[in-house]
């Protein structure tokens, strides 16, 4: 078996995913109730064309050049995000947010998507330059800031989903960069604290566990205090942050915890999506024949909830096949990261894998109610140009990294 040349498994996995995604998008437009998305799969074809060009371009870029370009790209994307906050517009169901840059009233893209790639590049550049794995708060400051800047700008839009993706990228990169699990947990602890703060009992228990854990792990005293302090702070400001959220964001989070709380407004989406997926059963209602979708019970069936269409029409079998495809796709990316001959390329590909994983987990999880509704796209399935092009760029980079490691004959066991 030749291991030289282009990475055929990756190409094949992506090709299959794109085909299934396009079919799902076609089906999403087939409704009894006329919608504006009936022919949207044709527009997705155009985006796919652009995506292929983008992937080809990324493939031609040498990792060295990317490493050199990373700070500029990162800076540009931060500026774009800041500009979006000022002049951005919303779209579709999220018309009140500022996620899009529009020129002359035509929305041309979501800078948050490109910023994800730029952040991965910047993280890769920084982490690959380290001799030793980061092992302490001081070492984690720089990567923390690299992610915090776009994270805050995106969270202000507000775009909770993309913010979560940045966290996914952050932890994936730290993990791949050799940060020990205990430190990963300590870094993540304020987030856990924030999430548990709605209940004094849970939060109190968490603080006790955390204190024990800190004593057990024994970081520097100052570090331990900072972590412990941040956790307490999170517990205190949680209520204030909660009140800062827009009512629709609160509802989304609340109805994620308990959809029956509000079965008509926000819980509606989750309930309808679960009904669609559940009624699909083992084998599904048949391609394009989903009744929930046809009768327009399913919200945003061409973007956020496209996976519900799969669930309803292709059943558990279809879900099993598509989830396996996604798993294979992510594992191929991990394999490429592992085979990479130098740290920057390796980190780059693993970052892309982390981004894809975050998107898949949050989107698919949302349709069955195990993740909050955040409106982030499912790779290769959801209609939308910005993320499709971003994914394509990521795949182009992975193909290049794979090509380079094979070209050197570096085929690990």
């Amino acid at each position: 078996m030749t291991r030289r040349g282009i990475d055929r498994p990756l190409l094949a996995a992506v090709a299959v995913l794109v085909s299934v995604g396009l079919a799902a998008l076609y089906s999403a437009g087939q409704t009894d109730v006329p919608t504006a998305v009936a022919d949207i799969w044709q527009r997705q074809l155009i985006w796919l064309g652009i995506g292929v060009l983008a992937a080809a371009l990324a493939f031609r870029l040498s990792p060295r050049m990317l490493e050199w370009l990373a700070p500029s790209l990162y800076g540009i994307s931060l500026v774009l995000l800041a500009v979006t906050l000022v002049v951005g517009t919303g779209a579709g169901p999220a018309a009140g947010t500022k996620s899009w840059i529009a020129i002359g009233g035509v929305r041309i893209g979501q800078p948050a998507e490109i910023a994800k790639l730029a952040t991965i590049l910047m993280l890769a550049r920084h982490l690959s330059s380290l001799r030793e794995p980061p092992g302490g708060l001081r070492d984690l400051m720089v990567p923390g800031f690299i992610v915090a800047a776009p994270f805050v700008l995106v969270a202000l839009q507000p775009d909770l989903g993309s913010a979560i993706v940045f966290l996914g990228i952050f932890f994936a990169a730290l993990y791949w960069g050799g940060v020990s699990p205990k430190w990963l947990l300590l870094v993540a602890s304020p987030l856990i604290s924030l999430m548990l703060a709605f209940s004094t009992v849970y939060w109190g228990a968490w603080i006790v566990i955390l204190t024990a854990f800190i004593i057990l792990v024994r970081p520097y005293v100052l570090e331990g205090l900072v972590i412990w302090g941040t956790n307490t702070l999170m517990g205190v400001i949680a209520l204030g942050l909660w009140e800062q959220l827009k009512p629709y964001q609160q509802n989304r989070l609340l109805s994620f915890l308990n959809p029956e709380i509000d079965p008509r407004a926000t819980g509606w989406h989750i309930i309808q999506s679960k009904i669609a997926i559940g009624s699909g059963g083992l084998l599904g209602n048949g391609f394009t024949a989903g009744t929930q979708k046809r009768l327009a019970f399913l919200p945003a069936q061409h973007t956020d909830f496209i996976y519900s269409v799969i669930g309803e029409e292709l059943g558990f079998l279809g879900v099993l096949v598509t989830l396996s495809l996604f798993a294979v796709f992510v594992l191929i990316l991990v394999r490429i990261a592992r085979e990479a001959t130098e740290p920057f390329s390796s980190m780059l590909v693993f970052g892309v894998a982390g981004m894809m994983m975050a998107h898949i987990l949050v989107n698919v999880g949302m349709t069955v109610g195990v993740m909050p509704i955040t409106g982030i796209p499912l790779p290769f399935f959801s209609y939308g140009g910005s993320f499709l092009v971003t994914s394509a760029l990521g795949i182009g980079l992975a193909l290049r990294v794979s090509w380079d490691s094979r070209g050197l004959g570096y085929v690990p066991t």
Partner: protein, 622 residues
């Protein structure tokens, strides 16, 4: 050892792979639980998906006058709708209520089509149903599964025909419009502004529909009207404050000559605020509420006197004598004349030009006049010569520059573009390069010929004359004032001179001088010849003369003379400036210098069928 040490990487890759597989495994388990273990439960729910969203229609925003007086509001009306589980049961229900609600088979077919468009939404059978009918239906409720009665806001036009052309009206969205998808946010039953301000500011007025959920059983019968507490309230559209003065508008509607066709516009020259705009004949927009049947619509839209036609912005008329101020202004600006200049040929009742004789409206002639006197007495012979002195190119160029070939830009849909040639190419195209003579110059000089203006355009021209600096903002009804875009380019000395001439038109020889002395008006009459019948009468003026605060222009079709129009305009100005105490002026005590202009070749006078077609009031702006 760096972190990229091969053994470490291998170890992390293995652990990472396990993590990824674990996450996908959990997701698969979750789907397995929903799709396989609990599938039957969800299948049942899907079949009888029991919550049906019933849209709560947002009340459209209010429209008020400049003082906040409400011109359009909403009152509750009853709407009858049916929720159906499938087409057959809907047809059965419709057949059952067909007698009570007087539904014919075409209407039933239309309702069936609507149902297919949105099965999960109630099919609205009738809006604006009288209460008696509702109570009858409620008695029969058991036999009518899925009946939904709800109150919905209904548009009310308290000023009815007084404000019809400005406010406009609304009508339900049509099937074709829904299919086109051109109207954002529209759905079955959305009311769309069709005309006037309702159309111009449709999106802002529309508000945001809410939703209420009705629980139905598997047969589509309503189980409970509103399970739980959660409904999404409808949000009323924005209130729109216009520049109109409704007292003045009402006064105009009351005093406009009964049975006459025409229009009147009153405007504040300093801001462009339109204070009143009236077009006659008018119509009652309340007739459109709740849907108008085809026959009534045909009667209204095809009537001979075109009541749906806003003559203030859609009627094109030869500007006639009021136009002479443009010619005089152009000549003064170019320094060709002074107010004291005499012409070579004194007026003897006409002017021989080439082989044609162009008459003055006064057969006896005016004698030798200065420019000031020529404006005052509206002497055609003087202006024929002034036009020749200016030359055709200059006349066309200056008119275009003053904005006579453009829309005024008022925020109302359907304004018609005036006709004014930009250069002599127009004549070359129309008549062939040698097919026309300097005679067109003579026609243009007295406001006839290839020149058709809207009333609003002419009122804006007089606003420019009235304002210091010779510039005026574009007329507006709601939008915040834009800066003046056009200027006459005249110095204050010349402007004052023109204003003085206009004052002389009204004051010289006035019988009731003492009565009007408190309110010195300046203005110009005009009579536009009309090949279809008696001439149209113009009057445009402004007051008070010293510091103009209002410009009023009116045109009355087939009025024979501008003098019949002048009292109307004078009274409107009086009413605005002096309130209800203003003395009423009748044509008897306002002895104007009145021309009956001759016009060798007038353009066909509109309303004209070609223009009506291009500005059908039903069209929708999105």
């Amino acid at each position: 050892m760096t972190w990229h040490d091969r053994h470490r990487v291998m170890r992390r890759a293995t652990a990472g792979r396990t993590l990824v597989l674990g996450i996908f495994g959990i997701l698969t388990l979750v789907f397995f639980r929903v799709q396989v273990i609990n599938s039957s439960r969800y299948q049942l729910q899907s079949e009888e998906n029991r919550l049906r969203p019933v849209p709560l229609r947002a009340p459209r925003g209010l429209i008020t006058d400049r003082d906040g007086e409400v011109l359009v509001d909403n009152v509750p009306g009853y709407t009858i709708a049916v929720l159906a589980s499938d087409a057959d049961s809907l047809r059965a229900t419709l057949d059952r209520v067909a007698n009570i609600l007087r539904l014919d088979s075409t209407r039933i077919d239309e309702l069936m089509r609507r149902y297919r468009r949105a099965r999960y939404e109630p099919v609205v059978i009738e809006r604006n149903v009288p209460f008696e009918l509702v109570s009858v239906l409620e008695e029969w409720r058991v036999l009518i599964p899925g009946l939904v009665v709800q109150t919905e806001p209904k548009r009310r036009y308290p000023y009815a025909d007084t404000l019809a052309h400005v406010i406009g009206y609304v009508a339900e969205i049509t099937e074709a419009e829904l299919n086109s998808g051109l109207i954002p946010g529209a759905r079955n039953g959305t009311l769309i502004g069709r005309y006037g301000l309702e159309n111009q500011y449709d999106l802002a007025l529309r508000g945001q529909d809410g939703v209420r959920f009705v629980e139905v059983d598997a047969l589509g019968r309503t189980v409970s009207e509103s399970p739980g507490q959660s409904t999404l309230e409808a949000q009323q559209g924005d209130t729109i404050r216009t520049t109109l003065d409704v007292d003045l508008q009402r006064y105009v509607a009351q005093t406009f000559p009964v049975g006459r066709r025409g229009a009147l516009v009153a405007m504040d020259p300093r801001t462009g605020d339109v204070l009143a705009m009236y077009s006659a004949p008018t119509f009652d927009p309340n007739a459109f509420v709740g849907g108008m049947d085809t026959q009534d619509w045909r009667m209204l839209s095809q009537a001979d006197d075109k009541p749906l036609f806003n003559r203030a912005i859609q009627g094109l008329y030869p500007p006639a004598s009021p136009w002479k101020l443009m010619v005089a202004g152009s000549a003064l600006r170019r320094g060709l004349v002074t107010p004291e200049t005499h012409m070579e040929i004194p007026c003897r009742g006409g002017l021989q030009f080439g082989n044609r004789y162009f008459r003055c409206w006064r057969e006896r002639g005016h004698g030798d006049l200065t420019l000031r006197e020529a404006i005052q007495f509206s002497c055609d012979v003087y202006f024929y010569q002034l036009g020749l002195r200016l030359e055709l190119e200059t006349l066309l160029q200056d008119g275009t520059q003053m904005g006579f070939s453009e829309l005024t830009g008022i925020d109302l849909p359907g304004e018609v573009q005036p006709v004014y040639p930009a250069s002599t190419d127009y004549f070359d195209r129309k008549y062939g390069p040698r097919g026309w003579t300097q005679a067109v110059t003579l026609n243009l000089a007295i406001g006839q010929g290839e020149n058709s203006q809207t009333l609003l355009g002419m009122v804006r021209f007089y606003a420019m004359l009235a304002n210091a600096g010779g510039a005026a903002p574009p007329p507006r009804l709601v939008a915040t004032g834009a800066p003046a875009s056009r200027s006459l380019g005249l110095g204050e000395r010349h402007l004052a001179e023109l204003r003085r001439s206009l004052l002389a038109v009204v004051e010289e020889g006035t019988a009731a001088r003492s009565r009007i002395a408190e309110l010195r008006m300046a203005g110009k009459t005009g009579t536009a010849q009309n090949p279809h019948g008696p001439s149209h009468g113009w009057f445009i003026g402004f007051a008070p003369w010293e510091d103009p605060q209002i410009v009023v222009g009116a045109i009355v079709e087939f009025a024979e003379h501008g003098s019949d129009v002048a009292p109307l305009v004078a009274n409107v100005m009086g009413r605005h400036l002096m309130g209800e105490d203003a003395p009423t002026i009748r044509s008897g005590n306002l002895d104007l210098v009145v021309p009956a202009d001759s016009a060798p070749a007038p353009l066909p006078i509109l309303p004209d069928s070609t223009l009506l077609r291009s500005s059908t009031p039903r069209r929708t702006r999105t």
